[in-house]
């Protein structure tokens, strides 16, 4: 019996630790009204970065296109939650069934996730055959296309204008969403599918030789990742309260850069790294903002460069948070070091 408890505790250690950390930080942050918006933004960003991690972290393929899913999630939820009266003058050309739609915010967020998952399945089917830089370009093309459509499909998105959505998120509600995202990402990472997609990341040739199709494994991660990012996008939209498309808008390079920076600073290969990256970057930019608001972006960019130069694998590398080692009886599995050695073995070609 105690063995089972030990097993369960060992398995759920990292996600529980991360959730605990988030609860403490969120409660501390929300205790002062001044910090409440920052706390809400941080928690919705946790969902976004965990979503990005599910694909990029597990498959090793960098995606510049996830902000496209953020936008799709945010617009889907906006269309389902903006009050009827407001919709009639913000978006007068909406088709009738959407104009009358008004659902619970949680359902709207889930709808955002589902729409993103469907889009991901559709575009991922061809795109996931690509890897490396070609995949980067293809996902970038997706971001550009989503942005163009959002800027020009006036009937559905209000075009270039700003869309005002209800501010209806609470810290407790956001904690539940962030916790759920972390739990889903963790279960996926430790599942058979997770291990298979890791195999295509670390040893693509060996994985193919064992009959693991990189395209299929990546597609699974991509669809799940889009689902989480879509939910995160819906939440993020409601935290912002108002957003607009376009190059200077809410869902373009600025956000893409920040999400990737968070993931990379924490450690691309670790779920704990993804969450920690959000916390560190949020704290850092909040601090910078207090010192000198103009320097916030400059400081963030310098911090990211320093991390990349000093620790190319991120703050945590591929480690996960967990129980302190003295609490756990060591098992044979612990003796095995499964972390890939790639980082240390940078080719010394140059």
């Amino acid at each position: 019996m105690s063995k089972t408890i030990g097993k369960v505790a060992r398995y759920w250690g990292p996600p529980l630790g991360l959730c605990g950390l988030l609860v403490v930080i969120a409660k501390l942050g929300a205790s002062t009204p001044e910090f409440e918006p920052t706390t809400l933004t941080m928690l919705s960003t946790v969902v976004l970065v965990v979503g990005l991690f599910v694909f990029s972290g597990n498959s090793g393929v960098i995606s510049f296109g996830h902000v496209g899913f953020v936008a799709i999630g945010a617009y889907t939820s906006a269309l389902l939650t903006i009050p009827h009266l407001q919709k009639s003058f913000l978006l007068p050309d909406l088709p009738g069934w959407l104009a009358g739609a008004s659902v619970d915010p949680a359902l709207a967020a889930l709808a955002g996730g589902v729409v993103c998952a469907l889009v991901a399945a559709l575009i991922g089917f061809p795109l996931m055959r690509l890897a490396g830089i070609a995949a980067g370009i293809a996902t970038l093309a997706f971001l550009l296309i989503v942005n163009l459509v959002a800027s020009n499909w006036t009937a559905l998105t209000g075009g270039q204008g700003t869309l005002v959505v209800p501010l209806n998120e609470t810290v407790n509600g956001m904690l539940v969403w962030a916790g759920a995202a972390i739990a889903i990402a963790w279960v996926f990472q430790r599942s058979r599918w997770g291990v298979r997609v890791h195999a295509t990341r670390d040893e693509p040739v060996a994985a193919s030789a064992l009959g693991i199709s990189p395209a299929r494994e990546r597609l699974r991660a991509f669809v799940l990742s889009a689902f989480i990012t879509g939910i995160g996008g819906a939440l993020y939209g409601h935290v912002l309260g108002a957003f607009s498309p376009g190059p200077e808008g809410s869902f373009y390079f600025q956000l893409t850069f920040i999400l990737i920076a968070m993931l990379v600073i924490g450690g691309v290969r670790s779920l704990s790294g993804a969450v920690l990256g959000v916390i560190v970057v949020t704290a850092l930019s909040e601090l910078m903002r207090r010192i000198n608001a103009d320097l916030q972006q400059v400081g963030l960019a310098v911090a990211m460069l320093l991390v990349l130069i000093g620790r190319p694998a991120g703050l945590l590398g591929s480690k996960e948070l967990g129980w302190p080692s003295w609490l756990l009886r060591r098992t044979p599995a612990d003796q095995l070091d499964l972390t890939p050695k790639k980082e240390e073995e940078l080719s010394r070609e140059y």
Binding site: I133, A134, G136, I137, N152, L308, I309
Partner: protein, 294 residues
């Protein structure tokens, strides 16, 4: 007939600008496997240098802009990219992403986020008429300058010792080092050349819009990035062809799409790009060093 000629000139002019940008991206990639997002900010540096020197004689403005942009390009390599040299391409790409963001924020911090007007000599905006066909002088200047630059670059790469070293480094860096090619020198040279190319691209972009802004390089780097990947990353001639093709296809789409679809031109363009990548993941002319061997 006259509209066809005008459209062809437009297409070639846009294509040569894209080819110029793609060459700048591809040259650096070929020697150190770095997709340099910060290339766009070299264009931005040109823009702001031109803004600061706009009252100088135009020749002086151009010379100063070339010097400043080249120096910034070499400094970029020295400070940000040398420490991560040899890391995997994704890490390199993200490093350049961070550097690009840093330079953009610095520009926003020092001179504000809005576009600023730059005074350009009158001959850029003139129109030249031959028979009943009217050409914009800017288009013709762009085509002529890019043609000259491409010829000069081709001569440098094929006829000089430095060019030979650079091509050797692009093909097999380790082997080139063993045969006495100095890595620091060849990489710095690639950055310097890409700085010169960025400067000319910057002048063309500023002449075209009459303004400079922190975001001026964004569109350019996207195009350069896409064109060099379509052409075949690592292949310098491929990048030129990719850029030209992208410019021509974009003009063709602009001309043929019905008015209602025109805002979506780039969406069609990028969809085509993805299709090309799906058929040929290594681009149209893959470089030998990029084809995976097991």
């Amino acid at each position: 007939m006259t509209t066809i000629i005008q459209n062809v000139i437009d297409a070639v002019s846009l294509g040569s600008l894209y080819a110029l940008i793609a060459l700048g991206v591809a040259l650096v990639f070929s020697v150190m496997r770095l997709v340099n997002f910060a290339f766009g900010e070299l264009i931005m540096v040109t823009g702001y240098t031109m803004l600061l020197t706009e009252h100088f004689p135009f020749a002086a403005t151009v010379l100063i802009a070339i010097a400043v942009t080249t120096i910034v390009a070499v400094l970029m390599e020295r400070t940000a990219f040398r420490p991560v040299r040899g890391a995997d391409p994704t890490t390199l790409m993200i490093t350049s992403f961070a550097l690009s963001y840093l330079l953009q924020s610095l520009a926003t911090w020092t001179s504000g986020p809005l576009a600023k007007g730059v005074e350009m000599p009158g001959f850029f905006t003139a129109n030249i008429s031959i028979g009943n066909v009217t050409f914009s002088a800017l288009d013709l200047i762009t085509i002529a300058v890019v043609a000259t630059l491409v010829c000069a670059l081709a001569l440098l790469l094929t006829r000089s010792r430095y060019g030979l070293e650079m091509r050797a480094a692009a093909e097999d860096f380790k082997m080139a080092r063993l045969l006495g090619v100095r890595p620091n020198r060849v990489i710095a040279l690639a950055f310097a050349i890409s700085g010169v190319l960025a400067c000319f691209a910057g002048i063309a972009l500023v002449a075209n819009s009459g303004t400079t802004s922190p975001m001026i390089g964004l569109q350019a780097i996207l195009v350069g990035f896409v064109a060099s990947v379509v052409g075949g990353l690592g292949s310098v001639p491929g990048a030129a062809v990719g850029g030209m093709a992208l410019g021509c296809v974009r003009t063709a789409l602009l001309v043929t799409l019905p008015a209602g679809m025109r805002p979506y031109t780039d969406a069609f363009l990028y969809t085509l790009v993805v299709v090309v990548l799906l058929v040929r993941p290594n681009g149209l002319f893959p470089s030998k060093s990029q084809v995976a061997r097991v």
